[in-house]
Symmetry: C2
Subunit: 123 residues, 2 copies
């Protein structure tokens, strides 16, 4: 996958955070910029929404398919999608009647790298 720069948290560039925390401690500033992304994932509905979007064939999902999967009102789903979008974990595009969501794979990959445990590091 591409390693294009990731823009998260209202445009804060997190590229300098793409290091396993097992390998190098985060600075206070890096932790401040990274934490909101994990907080966004810290809700079961958002986590499941993101997984539904990210795993959908073609990497894109119509909002109409997302609302069907939950026993929640459309405004509640919309709120959670907005949080994911604002933090940069998904992008949205309106085409005709519906909005289509796509997972931001570089953002996911960055957060995965932060939590990764490279073999032999502090084992």
């Amino acid at each position: 996958m591409s390693k294009q720069p990731v823009q998260l948290v209202g445009g804060a560039d997190l590229e300098d955070c793409r290091v396993p925390l097992v390998a190098e401690p985060l600075t206070a500033d890096q932790a401040e910029r990274l934490a909101p992304s994990f907080k966004a994932l810290g809700d079961p509905v958002r986590l499941r929404l993101l997984s539904l979007i990210a795993s959908h064939a073609g990497g894109e999902t119509c909002v109409c398919d997302l609302t069907e999967a939950f026993d929640l009102t459309a405004p509640t789903i919309s709120h959670h999608l907005k949080v994911l979008k604002e933090i940069g974990l998904v992008t949205a595009e309106r085409r005709g009647t519906w909005v289509y969501y796509r997972a931001e794979q570089p953002a996911l990959d960055l957060l995965s790298t932060v939590l990764s445990v490279p073999q032999g590091v502090n084992a």
Copy 2:
């Protein structure tokens, strides 16, 4: 690193969640069990504490070294360490005067896997 079973969130076994969410959507139950771990990481102080513990030589850190790194009171640091411990991201061991913290690498690895983007999946 070892792939021993991970016990997180008060003993909830998350081994069945060790799948990239890009590859397979989470069930509602899996999302409920995973979200609290990401929520625990969604705080800058906890994220930095975890990185200081995890990256410390030998993978272990004395609480005395952690309190020095922050401009926060000892009870505040203790509260955040307790959250990380209860969710299973660190373990603690008292030896003499001090408590020593160690990062739970299998737990980190599991969360990293959930967010990982295997090459070619929904690219």
